[in-house]
């Protein structure tokens, strides 16, 4: 189903990709391999999924404060998701994306949406993230 979600951009940018959706929080350190982009937290429901180029949709980050470094390394290596959509700001992930932008001038858009809206995004949906935080879900061509 096609729909439009209004989110708040915490890192503003444009991205396009297929949604990988989880309702579990994740720690990027210990949770995502910054070289391969694979989810490596074996207790996480996305374990084994490669999130490179996908729009990674999950409630928020958790755990290790090294998550920012892993996200930034992923951005540096080109293995990062195309964008991240959460329903609660995780300062650790936000910082990783902000420092990557300051240091490498590479933008990973990060958008916060409501709990209700995040539940309307299904795994495999085609998403377009716009700089003002608007998310187009399965847009009609």
């Amino acid at each position: 189903m096609s729909q439009v979600i209004k989110g708040k951009p915490i890192v503003s940018g444009e991205a396009k990709g297929q949604a990988v959706v989880s309702n579990q929080p994740i720690s990027f350190w210990g949770g995502v391999d910054p070289i391969t982009g694979e989810v490596i937290d074996r207790r996480h429901e996305c374990s084994g999924t490669v999130i490179t180029g996908k729009v990674f949709v999950f409630p928020t980050g958790k755990g290790s404060s090294t998550g920012s470094a892993v996200l930034m390394e992923s951005i540096r290596n080109g293995s990062a998701p195309a964008a991240i959509i959460n329903c609660k700001t995780d300062p650790i992930l936000a910082l990783g994306a902000i420092v990557a932008e300051e240091l490498y001038h590479k933008t990973l858009p990060m958008v916060i949406v409501s709990q209700e809206d995040i539940e309307n995004i299904q795994d495999g949906d085609n998403l377009i993230v716009q700089p003002d935080g608007t998310i187009l879900v399965n847009p009609l061509e």
Partner: protein, 422 residues
């Protein structure tokens, strides 16, 4: 709401205090905007976790800041570094890896940080005090500083920690403010048998369970018996901060902001009440292991996640002496600690016991960040909830969680030993 900056904040942003302070302040300001905060506040101490991960991004960041003339403005301790600075050659760490880690160490030392290299800074140098506003990285240290010491820090990310140390400023929000430190979810321990609670795996198990349920809410725990040691708080907080985003917890009658249940919630009602039974704890303990068969061959025991304290070494020595046995030749017994604890150990009467058993003491670093254990597919055993949580993903190993005695006995026998348990 627009962000109000002080004159000095603006001068930093304009580059009056140098290029590093300018970059650091611009990152602090961007974070304040993300968090929709209207002002910044001072901090008087920092602990940096950004030195811990050996990634090109981490090195780029540290060297950029150092090259731009970055200097920390407050006393700043350092988390572990991805290298045992004393023993890395013996450990077979590749020269190219070591060179990068040494560059990282140099960058942080050049910026005026204190080379503590530990993930348990609260058991060593410059322990923060009640009410002190600080900026700490390292999830387990954050949980300890907030909960046990009553200092105030948010869960600061790698790299933000250095920005805060250079500017001595952070967004005024979150756990820096008293009203955000009240409990949110109440955990009631229900009839937990006393011997289970005295077992040294109890606190890591409880932390794992509570972290998993609380996630990013502030947990309050009611019904714990007796006094809790620094090491037990460490085990609990590290596990809770791994399984969830726990940056602050209250234990009624024990932690400083929770003299009573009412104080822990600052007079408010819990959002949720969770009763914890022995069954829940047994399930959580089981969840910390990834294999559950009977005759498991153990390849390595890893202790000291977070870094082993002197009192933990004393308990290890007791267990070794009690068993009167030598380490099994096929098992590595690795204990991670820092130079402060190690210097005490060398002056103590237990150093020989520890050495004779065959313990490999690893300094300054972490098994997840330094290539010390090439354990892919192997089975490791640990008494740490944090290590048990992260090892399967970070080291690609199977993990068995057990108490200290079980770890020592398993290391002697070369296969899993379990004490009889309820």
């Amino acid at each position: 709401m627009p962000l109000n900056l002080s004159p000095k904040d603006r001068e930093m942003l304009d580059g009056k205090y140098g290029e590093a302070a300018k970059l650091a302040m611009s990152i602090v300001v961007r974070m304040a905007e993300v968090l929709e905060v209207d002002e910044l506040m001072d901090i008087s101490q920092a602990h940096i976790d950004g030195c811990g991960l050996m990634s090109d991004a981490s090195l780029d960041f540290a060297e950029t800041m150092a090259r731009l003339g970055g200097k920390v403005a407050v006393p700043t301790t350092l988390n572990m570094i991805p290298l045992d600075l004393q023993n890395w050659e013996k450990q077979g760490v590749p020269q190219s890896f070591a060179n990068k880690a040494l560059r990282m160490a140099k960058a942080y030392i050049d910026m005026g940080c204190i080379p503590t290299w530990t993930c348990a800074p609260y058991q060593g140098t410059l322990t923060p005090f009640f009410g002190q506003q600080i900026a700490w990285g390292e999830s387990n240290a954050i949980a300890y500083a907030n909960s046990v010491l009553g200092a105030r820090t948010n869960r600061y990310a790698d790299f933000f920690d250095l920005c805060a140390a250079i500017t001595a400023r952070v967004p005024k929000e979150g756990l820096h403010l008293k009203e955000n430190r009240k409990g949110q979810i109440l955990f009631r321990l229900m009839d937990i048998p006393e011997d289970f609670e005295w077992d040294d795996s109890f606190f890591a198990t409880l932390g794992h369970l509570i972290g998993r349920i609380a996630q990013n809410r502030i947990p309050v725990i009611e019904g714990l018996r007796g006094n809790i040691t620094s090491d037990q708080h460490k085990a609990f907080g590290a596990a809770a901060a791994s399984a969830g985003a726990v940056g602050l917890y209250h234990i009624v009658g024990i932690t400083p902001e929770a003299p009573t249940l009412d104080a822990a919630f600052q007079g408010a009602q819990p959002e949720e009440i969770v009763e914890i039974t022995l069954g829940d704890l047994l399930e959580a303990r089981k969840d910390l292991s990834t294999i559950h068969t009977n005759d498991i061959k153990i390849n390595a025991v890893i202790l000291g996640c977070p870094h082993f304290s002197f009192t933990e070494f004393q308990r290890l020595a007791e267990s070794i002496e009690k068993n009167h046995k030598k380490l099994h030749p096929d098992v590595r017994f690795i204990v991670l600690t820092n130079q402060m604890t190690f210097s005490l150990l060398k002056r103590s009467n237990i150093f020989q016991t520890i050495n004779d058993f065959g313990v490999e003491i690893v300094l300054d670093t972490c098994v997840f960040h330094s290539p010390i254990v090439s354990a892919k597919g192997q089975v490791i055993m640990t008494s740490s909830g944090k290590c048990a949580y992260y090892a399967p993903g970070e080291l690609d190993v199977k993990v068995v969680f057990g108490n200290l005695e079980e770890c020592v006995r398993s290391a002697v026998e070369g296969e899993l030993y379990r004490e009889v348990k309820p």
